[in-house]
C-alpha cells in the first residue's frame, strides 16, 4: 500500500507557483481554534481528508487513520482498512464512529452532508461513494471497490512506469467514455436543488478527468470532460460545489482554475485567480460566496491561503498561509462553510481540523 503513494504526487508538484490574485485581495482578519474536537482516548485522527457539518452543526470527519493491509487469497491481493468516519457535536463533543470496518473505507478523500443531512463519503481508494442516513446506515453506493489490487512483483529497484495505464489501486474507470459509475479515484460530490448528484471523478494520475451526473435515485444521466486544458476538459477535477441557481463550480486543480457549468454540463466560464484549487465550499443564504483553498503541496509550505470569492469569480478577500502553527494551514483538503464566517478546515499535512472564525468587519471583504 505504501508503494502506491509514489504514483500520485509526481505531476502535481509541477504546478505549484504563485498566484496573481493574492497581491490585490484584502486580508480578512480571523481566529482559529484547533483544539475544539474532543477526541476520546485511543482514537487518533490521522489525515482529515473530509470535513463537513450537518444542519444541526454536527461535524463529521472522514479521515485516513488506522492501518491499511493487504492480504492474499488465490494469488490475488486484497486491500482493506485505512479510513474511518467520526461524528462530533457542534461544540466538539465526540458522538460516535460511523461505518465501522466498512468495506469501502480505504482512502478517505472527501465528505459532504446534503440538504437532508445524508452523509456522503468519497473514497479514492475503493473508488466509491457511500451515502449514509442519519442513523449511520448505508442507503446508496456508487462505484465498486476493486475486488483485488494489482500488485506487481517488486524488486528493490522497482519503479512504476510513468503511465502505468491502470490506477495502482485497481480503479476500473476508463475515462470520460464510461457510461456509469465506474469511478476512478473520485474526489468530491455535490447536489443541485433537484437532488441530482454530481461526482468529480477524479483525482490523481490515471483518473477519469470528468464530472458525472446522476438523478436523485442514482440513475446515470450523463458524463462530460476528458483530460486537457480546454473548456470542459480537466486536469484532475478536485472539488465541486453548486450554487442556489444550480451552477456548478468545478475546481480543475491541475489547470489552476475553477470552471463553471450549468447543471446540464454546458461550460459557462472559468476563473484563474485562485491558484491551485484543492478544496472548496459554498455558503448558503441569499448572498452566496465560495471559499477556495490554494493549498500547499506536502512537499513545501508555499501558498496555503484561502480565498473568499463572489460567484462571478471576484475575489473579495483572503486569509491564512501554509504552515504548521496556529492560524496556518497544512495542505487543506476540505472546507466547510455552512456559516459564512465560521469555517471548518481539514488539513492533511498537520493532521488537524481547525475552526476558523472570520472577522470581515473592517469592510474590506464585501458583504
Amino acid at each position: 500500500m505504501k508503494a502506491l503513494l509514489r504514483f500520485t504526487p509526481l505531476a502535481l508538484v509541477l504546478f505549484a507557483s504563485s498566484v496573481l490574485a493574492q497581491g490585490s485581495a484584502p486580508e480578512i482578519a480571523y481566529d482559529t481554534n484547533s483544539t475544539f474536537l474532543k477526541w476520546p482516548e485511543h482514537i487518533y485522527m490521522g489525515e482529515p481528508a473530509g470535513v463537513a457539518a450537518d444542519s444541526k452543526g454536527h461535524i463529521f470527519i472522514y479521515t485516513r487513520t488506522g492501518e491499511e493491509n493487504l492480504t492474499t487469497g488465490t494469488s490475488r491481493t486484497f486491500v482493506r482498512g485505512g479510513s474511518k468516519l467520526f461524528e462530533f457535536e457542534a461544540n466538539g463533543t465526540y458522538v460516535r464512529e460511523i461505518g465501522q470496518d466498512l468495506y469501502g473505507f480505504i482512502r478517505a478523500e472527501r465528505l459532504r452532508v446534503d440538504s437532508q443531512d445524508f452523509i456522503w463519503a468519497v473514497d479514492s481508494g475503493s473508488d466509491m461513494l457511500m451515502k449514509f442516513d442519519q442513523q449511520g446506515h448505508i442507503v446508496m453506493t456508487f462505484g465498486r471497490k476493486p475486488e483485488a489490487v494489482d500488485v506487481p512483483a517488486m524488486p528493490p529497484e522497482y519503479e512504476p512506469p510513468p503511465n502505468p495505464g491502470r490506477d495502482p489501486f485497481g480503479g476500473r474507470g476508463v475515462g470520460s467514455g464510461e457510461l456509469g459509475d465506474g469511478l476512478n479515484r473520485p474526489s468530491d460530490v455535490a447536489f443541485d436543488s433537484n437532488g441530482n448528484i454530481f461526482i468529480a471523478d477524479g483525482h490523481g494520475g490515471t483518473s477519469n478527468y470528468r464530472v458525472i451526473k446522476f438523478d436523485k435515485n442514482g440513475v446515470f444521466v450523463k458524463t462530460w470532460g476528458n483530460k486537457g486544458n480546454g473548456p470542459g476538459q480537466f486536469q484532475w477535477p478536485s472539488a465541486i460545489v453548486i450554487d442556489a441557481k444550480n451552477n456548478l463550480y468545478v475546481a480543475d486543480k491541475g489547470n489552476r482554475r475553477i470552471q463553471v457549468f450549468d447543471d446540464d454540463g454546458t461550460f459557462k466560464t472559468e476563473y484563474h485567480n485562485v491558484g491551485f484549487p484543492a478544496a472548496m465550499c459554498i455558503t448558503p443564504g441569499a448572498h452566496q460566496y465560495i471559499y477556495v483553498s490554494n493549498s500547499n503541496e506536502r512537499t513545501n509550505l508555499d501558498n496555503g491561503e484561502i480565498y473568499k470569492m463572489e460567484l462571478d469569480g471576484t475575489v473579495v478577500g483572503r486569509f491564512g498561509k501554509a504552515g504548521k502553527g496556529p492560524k496556518e494551514f497544512g495542505t487543506v483538503n476540505s472546507l466547510d462553510c455552512r456559516s459564512e464566517n465560521e469555517l471548518t478546515v481539514g488539513e492533511l499535512l498537520n493532521w488537524r481540523v481547525q475552526k476558523v472564525t472570520l472577522h470581515p468587519g473592517s469592510g474590506k471583504s464585501g458583504n
Partner: protein
C-alpha cells in the same frame, strides 16, 4: 466481468464487450424478455435488521434453512457470515475470522440445515453445523507468506489443470437427493465437480469454451428433486442442464447471463435465473439487463420481475438467489451492499398472460 477485474483494466472492457455487446457495440436484451409476462412483486422494506455498528459490504450469498433463518455471506472489510431470524432480526455471526474466509462467493444450506460457504479467495468449501461449528472442509487455502503470492497473475497465465480436491475460485454448490454434491469451479477452472456425500471425488465435467458442455464461468449451480443439475454458464449467457451423472441434457440460452439461480421447494419446482446487471453499472448494460426469470424445469419461461437500480425493490447486481418458498425470493446484491426479501404475486398476473399453474 469480475473475472476480468483482476487483470489489466483495459482488458476488462474487452471482456465486457466480447461477451455482452452485439454487433456495433449495442447490447441486446435476453431473447425471452419481450415475450415474458411480468410477475407483480414487492420488496419488504428494511427486512434485515442490522445492529448499529455492524455493516454489510457487498452481499454475495444468501440462503435460508428449514426454519426460515436467513444467512448472508458478505464481503465487508473482512468476509463474514451472518445469520438472521425468520423475521429479519439479527442473530449472530458464524465463522468469525475464519481461516477460509477471504472473498465471499456463495452460501447454501443443505437438507440437514448445515450451512456451506464457498470462498473464492481461499478456494475453500466449508460446512458448518447448526451450532456454527466447522464440520467439513473441501479444498485448501494456498500458503501465504511467500513473496510470489503477492504477484497478481497475468492475463495470459495458463490455468493449471483442474485437480480433484483443489479449486480455482469456486463459485457455488448444490446437492442431489442422495446427498452427492456439485461444485461450480469456477473462475479459474471451467468445470463442475461431483462428490459423494462423504466428500469423495467422483468426476468432473467441463472445460473452457463455448461448445455444448463446455463452460465459460460456471457462476451458479442448482439441482432439482430428480437430481438434474442446472449450471449457470454466465459468460456464455446460458443455463446448461445436466443429469445427475453430469451428462448434458439441454441448453437454455434465452434468459441472458445467469449470475444467480435457485430452484424452489415443493412438489412443483421452478427455476429462477437472474440476468443481473453487471457490477460496473454501465448504463448500456443497465438498459438491457437486471431482470429475474421464473422458469419451468424444462426451460419454459413463465414470468419475469425486477429491473436494475439502487432503490429498494430494484436490483443492484444480484449475485445470489434463494427461493425455498416459491413466492418468497431473497436476493443478495453486490453493488448496493444489500440483501432484499421479495414477495411475488403471480396471482395478480394478467389472466391472459399467466402461465404455469
Amino acid at each position: 466481468m469480475k473475472r476480468c477485474f483482476g487483470l489489466v483494466f483495459a482488458m476488462a472492457v474487452f471482456c465486457l464487450a466480447g461477451s455482452t455487446f452485439g454487433q456495433g457495440g449495442v447490447p441486446a436484451r435476453a431473447a425471452a424478455f419481450a415475450t415474458t409476462p411480468d410477475i407483480p412483486y414487492e420488496a419488504v422494506p428494511n427486512f434485515f435488521k442490522i445492529p448499529d455498528g455492524l455493516y454489510l459490504g457487498e452481499v454475495l450469498g444468501v440462503a435460508t434453512d428449514s426454519k426460515g433463518h436467513v444467512f448472508l455471506y458478505t464481503r465487508g472489510n473482512h468476509t463474514r457470515l451472518f445469520e438472521f431470524e425468520k423475521d429479519g432480526k439479527f442473530m449472530r455471526e458464524i465463522g468469525d475470522n475464519l481461516y477460509a474466509f477471504e472473498m465471499a462467493h456463495g452460501v447454501r444450506v443443505d437438507k440437514n440445515d448445515n450451512i456451506w460457504a464457498v470462498d473464492e479467495g481461499t478456494n475453500m468449501i466449508v460446512e458448518f453445523n447448526q451450532l456454527g461449528r466447522v464440520i467439513f472442509t473441501l479444498g485448501s487455502k494456498p500458503d501465504s507468506g511467500k513473496g510470489w503470492a503477492f504477484q497478481t497473475p497475468k492475463f495470459n497465465d495458463p490455468v493449471p489443470p483442474a485437480q480433484p480436491y483443489i479449486f480455482n475460485r469456486p463459485t457455488d454448490i448444490a446437492w442431489d437427493p442422495q446427498g452427492n454434491f456439485f461444485i461450480a469451479d469456477g473462475y479459474g477452472n471451467s468445470r463442475v465437480a461431483k462428490y459423494d456425500k462423504n466428500g469423495t471425488f467422483i468426476k468432473s465435467v467441463g472445460e473452457k469454451g463455448k461448445a455444448p458442455g463446455q463452460l465459460n464461468l460456471p457462476h451458479a449451480i442448482a439441482a432439482d428433486a430428480a437430481g438434474n443439475v442446472y449450471v449457470g454458464d454466465r459468460s456464455n449467457s446460458r443455463v446448461q442442464i445436466f443429469d445427475d451423472d453430469l451428462n448434458l441434457k439441454k441448453v437454455v440460452d434465452n434468459v441472458g447471463a445467469p449470475w444467480a439461480m435457485c430452484i424452489s421447494g415443493g412438489p412443483h419446482q421452478y427455476l429462477y435465473v437472474s440476468n443481473s446487471n453487471p457490477d460496473n453499472n454501465d448504463s448500456r448494460m443497465i438498459a438491457v439487463s437486471g431482470e429475474i426469470y421464473k422458469m419451468e424445469l424444462d426451460g419454459t419461461v413463465i414470468g419475469k420481475f425486477g429491473k436494475p437500480g439502487k432503490l429498494p425493490g430494484e436490483f443492484a447486481t444480484v449475485h445470489s438467489l434463494d427461493c425455498r418458498n416459491e413466492n418468497e425470493i431473497y436476493t443478495a446484491e453486490i453493488t448496493a451492499w444489500r440483501a432484499q426479501k421479495i414477495i411475488l404475486h403471480p396471482e395478480k398476473m394478467a389472466a391472459s398472460s399467466k402461465a404455469g399453474n
